[in-house]
């Protein structure tokens, strides 16, 4: 008697919870403005048509540059935002992706647009291997180990003659006219950025993403709740490296040269962190907003003052102010106070 009562009440509770969850997700679907990012994407995809009426290479470059950082920041967000492991070494995967595809282009003439996913896989494999080692420690120790990773990579790349050492590699430019030379990379980078944002959304709303968020709150509790935390965080590391590696591959051919002091810069890692923090760590729209803000700010600094020192000083200043006054970032702060405009609610 008692047993059946318990059984039926338990299933009733589960039923009620399921109904409630469905109601919540329906409500979330209604408030989510999916049309906004899609419209934005269509508009950006149509942007190269401008080249028929004039020369808008600078505009294309800016969008491409922003898209590359959208992909990198959103990729970083999978590890840093969802799982809570802040890495300052992600520039390594940018460099590895760039060099892998760049070497194939230099040796066999296969465009990086084709090999970019492969470069992403190589970066992911490296991320997996590194994650197996460094994700044993967390907090400040992990951050320091990620800086050490970047330093090791920089020394190795500077001294590895097969890939050009400190002088780097020069890649053949494509044979399109100046008007259209940027367009293939533009579309490739846009596609990578859109794919990354979409994947980040899918990951956040999967059981895997739920596990990552759980372990970012409290790893021991997550472990005792049955989450294989080690597998989860190492996979998150590999996934985030994958997207950064793809962006690196296309960026290398776009620049037409690869050099350790362009790819393996701590400033690039710092930018990814900065974009996520400014926009909102752990949100989907956050890294996108952050990337747009930082690129705009960078252009402003360079245009008005022109010196790279000012740029570094400004980046540091913006980072410090953001950390002190808006630790949740733009999207996070607005969402907490319930003022997030619907067009920015991508979660």
């Amino acid at each position: 008697m008692a047993v059946t009562l318990q059984d039926s009440s338990a299933s009733a509770v589960i039923e009620a919870r399921r109904a409630h969850n469905e109601k919540l997700s329906r409500k979330a679907d209604q408030t989510r403005a999916t049309w906004f990012p899609l419209t934005l994407l269509v508009l950006l995809a149509a942007l190269p048509l401008l080249q028929f009426v004039g020369n808008y290479n600078y505009v294309l470059h800016l969008v491409l540059f922003t898209a590359s950082y959208v992909a990198m920041a959103s990729g970083w967000n999978i590890l840093g935002g969802f799982a809570g492991y802040v890495s300052l070494g992600h520039a390594v995967f940018f460099g590895v992706g760039g060099y892998f595809s760049g070497m194939i282009l230099a040796r066999y003439g296969i465009s990086t647009l084709v090999t970019a996913p492969l470069a992403g896989l190589v970066a992911a494999a490296l991320g997996y291997a590194v994650g197996m080692v460094t994700l044993k420690v967390r907090g400040p120790s992990f951050i320091i180990s990620s800086i050490a990773l970047l330093m090791i990579a920089r020394i190795l790349f500077d001294n590895w003659h097969f890939i050009g050492g400190a002088n780097g590699l020069t890649l053949p430019p494509n044979d399109l006219s100046v008007q259209w030379a940027k367009v293939p990379y533009y579309y490739a980078m846009l596609a990578i950025a859109a794919f990354t944002v979409w994947s980040a959304y899918k990951i956040k709303h999967s059981k895997f993403g739920l596990g990552l968020r759980a372990l970012s709150k409290d790893e021991i509790k997550a472990e005792s709740a049955g989450i294989d935390t080690r597998f989860y965080k190492v996979t998150a590391f590999a996934l985030s490296a994958f997207f950064v590696g793809m962006a690196g591959a296309v960026w290398g051919e776009y620049l037409t040269y690869l050099r350790p002091n362009i790819f393996l810069l701590i400033l690039i890692s710092a930018n990814m962190v900065l974009m996520c923090i400014l926009g909102g760590k752990g949100t989907i729209a956050g890294p996108v907003i952050g990337a747009i803000l930082i690129v705009a700010l960078n252009e402003l600094f360079v245009a008005t003052m022109g010196a790279s020192e000012i740029n570094i000083l400004g980046t540091g200043l913006v980072m410090a102010i953001g950390l002190i006054f808006f630790p949740l970032g733009l999207v996070g702060t607005l969402a907490r106070s319930g003022k997030l405009p619907r067009v920015l609610n991508w979660d």
Partner: protein, 292 residues
């Protein structure tokens, strides 16, 4: 044999300087749980203060040392009051402060680059390029003086920590913050003091570094991982550990640099950091597995 002694002496002299560079980092971590990524950039700040004194006023770098230390200590008090005090209640305190000090490091780098340009600098007092000879072994005076001054400062610091009342209070705060507060230690004041001492050590190290290494504003990225490996090997928060770690690693790096190649000697530090974090995250003299 003479070669081994030679490498050993060069390694130990450099190790002394690196120990001083790392000791401030270790002290600040011990008392406040702040991993100060800006520490090396502040060392370079101290080096530039010394450089300025040497070039425009002709003051010897070792004489400039107290000046650089005092300026850095003042900056430390200011920074702590303005920035780190308000972060003390933040939930992700240690992670927050790492990112904040990272931002600070970038700001210092940008500021120094703007003020002094990005060319390599070095102060060149007479002894920086002179050397003694004992048999076949040559001992560069600059590195020897720097090593001796460093170890003297660290010895002074250890005596201060061990025998003065403020030193007791600092060590008590390192061991257990809450208990120290219960026993009547003004933890807030001790934190400011320790942060100021840590930065003063950075300034002092900067003066010595200015004639041992050549420096430019972005150089601190190379040093942060090097100093971290020294501090982590010794055990974060332990000054003795930092000295031992610095001496061990710089001797190993000196051997690697001579026998394998100069570019690989810096790699020693970074690889060591990786290995230590894996095998024994609390380091040789540390007791705090909570860092892991």
């Amino acid at each position: 044999m003479a070669e081994i002694v030679q490498i050993l002496i060069l390694g130990l002299a450099l190790g002394g300087v690196i120990a001083l560079m790392g000791s401030g980092l270790s002290l600040v971590f011990g008392v406040m749980r702040i991993v100060n990524l800006a520490h090396p950039s502040l060392i370079i700040g101290g080096a530039y203060i010394t450089y300025w004194g040497f070039k425009s006023l002709g003051i010897d770098p070792i004489v400039m040392l107290p000046v650089a230390a005092a300026i850095m200590a003042a900056i430390g008090v200011l920074l702590y009051r303005l920035v780190f005090q308000r972060e003390a209640k933040s939930a992700k305190y240690s992670e927050m402060t790492v990112l904040l000090t990272f931002a600070l490091a970038m700001m210092v780098e940008g500021l120094l680059g703007g003020l002094f340009t990005n060319t390599q600098r070095v102060t060149s007092p007479d002894y920086a390029t002179a050397a003694f000879f004992i048999g076949d072994v040559f001992i560069p005076k600059g590195q020897l003086y720097a090593g001796i001054v460093s170890l003297t400062i660290i010895a002074g610091l250890s005596l201060f920590l061990k025998y003065s009342r403020l030193g007791y209070a600092i060590r008590a705060t390192t061991q257990n913050r809450e208990a120290a507060e219960l026993l009547g230690v003004n933890v807030q004041f001790i934190s400011v003091l320790a942060f100021a001492i840590g930065l003063a050590l950075a300034g002092a190290a900067g003066s010595l570094v200015s004639f041992v290494f050549s420096f430019f504003p972005a150089k601190h990225w190379e040093w942060i991982a090097m100093l971290m490996s020294v501090v982590v090997l010794g055990g974060m928060g332990s000054i003795l550990g930092t000295v031992v770690g610095a001496l061990i690693l710089s001797v190993v790096a000196a051997f690697v640099g001579t026998w394998i190649g100069a570019t690989w000697s810096t790699l020693t530090f970074f690889l060591a950091l990786f290995i230590i974090l894996l095998v024994r995250p609390q380091g040789l003299f540390g007791e705090k597995p909570e860092m892991a």
